[in-house]
Each structure stands twice: as C-alpha cells, then as structure tokens.
C-alpha cells in the first residue's frame, strides 16, 4: 500500500512537470499545444547527448537540456504560432499547426538520429532509499524533489516578478493586459521559454527512468489528462492533476490490472469533461478548445 503510494508519487511528479508546461501555454493562448510532447522528447535527446558525446557532468546535461528545450519551444512559437497569432486565427488552427510541428520534428528525429533506443548512463547508484515498508529509487526521489523545486520556483517567479505578473495578467485577458502595457510578444515568448525548459527537464527524467526514443513524447497524452483533471490553464491544478493521475494509475496497475490502466485514465478524462469541465481548480473554459 505505502509502496504503491510512493511509486505513484514518483510517476505523478513527472506528469505534474509535463502538465505544468502544457497548462502554462494553454493559460495564455487557449489551445492544446500538441508539440509539447515533442519538446519533451528533444529535451531528453539533448540531455543524453550532452552526457554521452560531450561527456559533461550531469548538472551540465540538465542545464543543456533545459536550454535546448527552451530554444526549441521559442522557435516553435515564432515559426508555427506567431504567424497565426498575427492573423487572429482561431485556436483550432493553432492546434493543427502544433500537430504538424510535432509530427514533423518526430520524423526529423527518425531521419537524422534514427530509430535506436537510448538509455541514459547510470548517474545514480541503483540503490533504493527505504521509507518505512516502502522503498524508492534514488533517481525517483531526485526526480520528485527536483520537480517540486522547479514547480515552486516557477510559482514564485509568476507571483513575485514583473514578468510573472504580466504572464498572469495575460492569462486572464490578453487584450486588457496589453492595454495596460504588457508586451504580448515578449510575454508569449517567455511563456514558451518556461514551458520548453520544463518540458526538457521532464524529458531528462523520463529518459533516465525509462529510455530515450522518438515517440516518447506521446506520454504527454497523460499530461493533457492531468491538466484537465486539475483544471485547464491552472498551474496548481496541473500539479494536483498530475499527482492524482500518477497515484490512480499505480493503484489500478497494482490492484486490478495494468492492461486496463489507460482505460481508467482516459475514462477519468471523459468523466471530468462531462461533470466538471473546469477541473478541480480551473476557471471557466467555455470558449477554449
């Protein structure tokens, strides 16, 4: 029982990290950024190559990965979304563009790096920390702590800095915020920078826990579910949704069967959309897709 909770938290922490980046973009631009998963995947590759090819120490790999993720996400915004934004396109078109970017980048990885699976070198000893009757891998513990720190840092940034306030203002109403002096392009660029960095970080953790491969970004489906559960566009909601989903999945796998785990996860998505479309902590999202 305790073991299941611990395992669930370890998975939930990564879901939360992914869901936060996804929710961040949603809160400003009101669309599902399907390219988020691709940035996670590229971030995982970046971290892997910094570690193995450049033989850099682990902290450098994390920083390198976050920077690459941030750069890719900002470039993605500039090339694929900004032109749509200028033309006042509907959120649907953003979503289609995001899917295009995601498929393009994934296939680009197949064509250049190839279909091989990569495994991160062992950064941590394969030892477990024992908490009562349960044990948690050092990697999982590190990922959980680091995810929490990253999410808290983001929270403080949004609450206490000028840029953070601008982002929050834009997430309520972009037009009004811009009348009050928020520079939209800068705010949106910053949002993608943060979301990309978080995506890459979760990519490194996923890569270390499991492995690195071109379709690994599909796991963001779970981040979308987590974001809906928590309330689309709400950052604390994304965290809660991620952790809840991780726990739910682990309990289903352990006590029922892992073959129907995803049936539970996605039923949860449908139930929330029907009964509580704003999620646990969300705002009204009627006009959003």
């Amino acid at each position: 029982m305790l073991q299941t909770v611990v395992t669930g938290l370890a998975i939930g922490g990564i879901y939360a990290l992914m869901a936060v980046g996804y929710s961040l973009v949603f809160s400003i631009l009101n669309f599902s950024n399907f390219a988020h998963g691709t940035v996670i995947m590229l971030g995982a590759y970046a971290g892997y190559f910094v570690l193995t090819l450049a033989k850099a120490p682990f902290p450098v790999a994390i920083v390198g990965s976050i920077i690459s993720g941030a750069v890719i996400a900002v470039a993605n915004e500039g090339l694929a979304y900004r032109p749509l934004r200028i033309r006042n396109a509907k959120p649907l078109y953003f979503m289609i563009s995001a899917m295009g970017v995601s498929i393009l980048l994934e296939n680009l990885v197949y064509a250049t790096i190839g279909a091989h699976f990569y495994s991160y070198p062992h950064v941590f000893e394969m030892e477990n920390v024992v908490i009562g009757e349960a044990s948690i891998g050092i990697l999982d513990l590190f990922a959980l702590v680091f995810s929490t720190v990253a999410i808290l840092a983001l929270h403080l940034f949004l609450q206490h800095t000028r840029s953070g306030i601008a982002i929050r203002a834009c997430s309520y109403d972009m037009t009004v915020a811009s009348i009050f002096g928020a520079k939209l392009d800068r705010v949106i660029g910053l949002v993608f920078l943060l979301a990309g960095g978080l995506a890459a970080l979760s990519g490194v953790f996923l890569g270390m826990k499991y492995m690195v491969y071109p379709t690994m970004g599909w796991i963001t489906n779970k981040a979308y579910v987590a974001a809906v559960i928590g309330g689309l566009g709400s950052l604390p909601g994304a965290v809660i949704g991620g952790v809840l989903l991780g726990l739910l999945e682990t309990f289903v796998s352990t006590y029922i069967s892992s073959t129907i785990r995803d049936v539970f996860s996605f039923s949860m998505l449908v139930i929330f959309l029907l009964v509580l479309p704003t999620g646990l902590l969300g705002r009204n999202v009627e006009e959003k897709i």
Binding site: Y110, H122, Y210, Y213, T215, W218, S258
Partner: protein, 386 residues
Amino acid sequence: MLAGALSGCGQQAQPPKEAPKEAPKEAPKPEVIKIGHAVALTGDASIWGQSESNALKMWVEKINKQGGVNGKQIQLVAYDTRADSVEAVNVVKRMIEQDKVVAIIGAAQSGVTIAMTSVTEPAKVPVIATTATNPAVTVKDGQLKPFTFRVCFIDPFQGTVAAQFASTKLNAKKAAILYDVGSDYSSWLGQYFTEAFEKMGGKVVAKEAFRSGELDYRAMLGKIKKENPDVIFIPTAQKEAALAMKQARDLGFKGTFLGGDNWGSPDIVTLGGKAVEGQYFVNLASMDDPDIQGFIKEYKEKYNAEPVLPNPVMAVDCLIALVEAIKKAGTEGPAIAKALEGTADLQVLTGKLTIDPKTHNPLNKPAIIQQIKDGKFVFAEKYVTK
C-alpha cells in the same frame, strides 16, 4: 554459390561501368518487374525495418547488375507501414492498385501481415513474410491462404524451443510470463511456451499482461516476484524486455530471463545494461553464422553499419525465393504462388529453403538460442524443426 557472388562483389569498380553501357539499349522498353515491400520504416519497429530495407535495396541492385530476372529489371516499391495494421492495409492496396506489383515482401509483424492478407488474398498477389511467426499468418482456422508464405519458423516451434531450453538446460521448475496483450506475437508465444513447459513437467506460476508501449512494469513484476519463479519468459520486443528486466533486477529478482526472436537487436544491450547480461533468447539468425558472413561484410561496406538481424537476412531470403519463382513462372500472381509452393532445397542466405505446400511454412528451419555475453549475442544452442 551465393557466397561466391557475395564475395565477388568486393570489386565494385568494374561491374557498374558495364551495366550502364547495356542499360541504354534496354531502357526504351520500360519493362520492369515491380516487387512490393511492406516495411516499418518509422515507429518502434523501424530499427529492423530500416535494416531490412537497406538489405533488399542492396540485393535488388545486385540482381539488376547481373541482368535482372528473365531479362527484366527489378524495381522495389517500398512503403512504410509503421508496423501498424491499418497503415499496412493502405500501402498494400496502393502497391497492388497503383503500382501493380507482382508480389509483396513483408511484413515483419504477424498482426500486420494477417491484416495485409485480407487485401492480398482476394487480389491474388503473393506475399512472403519475413519474420511474421504467428501460425495464423498462412493458415487461418485450418484453411491455407493460397497466396501467403513465409521464410521464418512459427511460434509454436519457437515457444517449444524456449520451454525445452528452460526446462532441460536451465533446470527451471517454475516459470513466469510477462507478455504484451496488444500483440498477437507476444500473447500467443506466451501461450505456446506455457503448453510446452507444462508438458515437460514445469509449472507456470504467474502470467502478467501489459499494454503495448508500457514503460513501467513494477506493478506486474512485484506480483511475479512473489511467486518466486526460476525463469521469467518475456516474449516481447527489445524495448519492453530491456525495461522490464532492469526493473525486475531493481526489485531484487535473481533468476534468469528468457525471450523470443524479437529481442535480437543490439538496443537490448544499450537499454538493459547489466540487467540483460547472461540472459537467453530464441533467434532466427545469428551474426556468427558462417553462411551469412559475406552478406554482413557487404552490408557493412555499403552502409557503414551492421545489419540488425534477423530481418535483413530474412528479407533477402524472401527475395531470393521470389526471384526464383518468377524465373520459373513469370509474373502472374497465381503462377508465382504455385512456384513458391514448390520451392525445395533452394539455396538462400540462411541455408536451404524448402516450403511446406500444406502450410506455406519453411521446413527444417533452425532456431538458435543466443546468450547475451559482454554485451554481444553469443551462440548457445541450435534446434531444428521436425
């Protein structure tokens, strides 16, 4: 004979110069024989698919340089299936309706090939599967599919080989199975293993399933570990197997792991690391096989990479059998199928190929047990079908 042709290709400088001189004379007649290739070039199975595709291109080039088949050049029409059944049906339709292929090589996956035959059988286009090992690929409900063939052994045999090996060589009394419920290959192989293992007096103490693409196996492995098996049979692809083995070792499982031919990619070592060291799996072809050294050398020279066995070798076996059938019977589907059915003692890369007319499966196809030692696949045992 083939080995000679292979090693002769080391001097690549001269033949290409001759070929273009003759080519222009024949060029006005656009007489080509189109052969379809349904292959996973992207997706999780693409590591084999890309290698398979490379090998076929190389071999077709070689046949064409030597004058083609019945005076015609072979043209390969390859489309990506992504190892997805729906996608495969679409590409096969395109091959047959638009490209007018005379026969199709592929697919590597049983489920995908079974889906393809729903189109190829009515269209009377022969299909030769490379590594689709499920019995239902060629025989469904006791009914032989007249246009579907394969060059690999079948899963009941593979499952029996694994069970025999576990029972006699590893002295296993209790086995557990961790399988992919989303894959025909995996669930049936688990079933065949169970039947053979219990027939030999062993007991399957746990059977745990997961869905394709699973990343975390701790919940299932925890249940398996409680039963304390000697062996865990993991009939899945290398990615799933490597992750599961790693996690099983993390949980403190000390026994042996055993797998099927889908393990045979070097990825299993890079992914599994120490966890896969010393473990065993059944395979279709081995890099150590002296018969295919020429092929491996040629492949390495051309692509500057090692072929990812067994698919490239099996695909070339398909091509050789197909070319032989076309030589005898021409390019009509039913005639090719008839000729394929009569394939006997044909020299292919992996040995002599004889197709059983009753099942369209190869006879006397050896299965190899390999062990992972120092990150390499080492030959351990050889079994032959009866």
